[in-house]
Assembly symmetry: C3
Homo-oligomer: 164 residues x 3
């Protein structure tokens, strides 16, 4: 009986720790990419992970780090920008997980900011094999919320915890 209660507590706690590790990872993206840290941003992904934004398909950590170092991103940082991600909804199933959140990109213009984007963000993640409690993004798909069915499907699949 004690054994059962201990095992059940451990299982429930592990689930919260997994979800929280993923929430933390996603909440770290904005600060890291706005700080302009190419390696730490890329390290949120699996080394073969994919970051699929509408006009830019990045394959693997090197290409993600290159995006942070790119002239386009560096100009955004120099001007002043906030990649603002909302609270993620996370669904863990064994060693895989799906998460979803909405986001906005604020860019400085004069003495205020303009809202350059409103987006849907879908994440497929995997548990790191030899490092308990650690997760990495296998695939992130980001689309502007512009009325397209494709963007809205990211939200639906994300909330349902559906792996694409």
């Amino acid at each position: 009986m004690i054994e059962q209660r201990l095992a059940e507590l451990e299982r429930r706690l592990q689930q919260i720790e997994d979800e929280r590790a993923i929430e933390r990872l996603i909440a770290s993206y904005g600060p890291l990419v706005d700080a302009g840290d190419p390696e730490s941003t890329a390290a949120l992904w699996h080394h073969d992970g994919v970051y699929d934004v509408e006009n830019w398909l990045m394959n693997g950590r090197d290409e993600i780090a290159a995006m942070v170092r790119s002239r386009g991103h560096q100009e955004l940082i120099a001007r002043g920008c906030t990649h603002f991600l909302g609270p993620a909804v996370v669904t863990v199933t064994g060693d895989e997980a799906v998460a979803v959140c909405e986001s906005t990109l604020l860019v400085k213009q004069g003495n205020q900011f303009r809202v350059a984007r409103g987006g849907a963000n879908y994440f497929h993640l995997k548990r790191v094999a030899d490092s308990p409690g650690q997760w990495q993004i296998v695939r992130r798909i980001t689309r502007m919320l512009d009325g397209a069915a494709e963007s809205r499907d990211l939200l639906t699949d994300g909330i349902a915890g559906r792996i694409r």
Copy 2:
């Protein structure tokens, strides 16, 4: 002694699970309503639940689903919109809970977005009787933060965990 420690661990874990279930429910609202899913959006509420926005008082799930299907909401989605809710502060007391968060509504305009709203969101929730760990909204009150005392009181009551 072991019995006491197990019971205490179970109690503390249950509290976190309750709060997290409510945080997740609230974080799901934006993605579901921006995806345009009437049934899943309405299912966040108790079947008799109320959604009280300044110009629209919805009573029960059918009226909430009807809002998602309405011409006004569908036009927002078609244009491109993000109902962006911030992290919720949740206070659970037995089988009832109060939560509060701020929100913004971004609407696409040309190739960027305008900020159509900044709002205060107050939630009164109840535990679902026969489904442990599940919560439903009994009443959500949303008001624009426009200087009115009414909107500010939602924030104060929400943080204090006061049931209205």
Copy 3:
């Protein structure tokens, strides 16, 4: 063996409770300051705590409460404003903690809102000695994300959990 498992569960649960207490404190700031509650806003800080915004260095709770009561802040509230903070990334080390989040300030203008700020927020917190599970801000540094290295360093230090 049972003793060990209980102690380990208690330790893991305590860590989550600490992190969540800090997340809740940070998520309370926006609602409290937008409600215009000087005492509750100031109570998030240690009585000697510092709030360092670029043009305003507040020392201690009285000066923080005075900011909430100030003509500038009251005019913001009367016009309509949302101090919107994103999900915080929290790192607890013993009785100290570091947290970071991004934020935006929305101010009502006509029948919509303008984005007055996009900011980086760095928090150094301490555990309240005689009140388990309670934390207070020792120092909060907030800077506009305007391309300055100083603002970006807040994000980097915050994610790394570095005490300044």
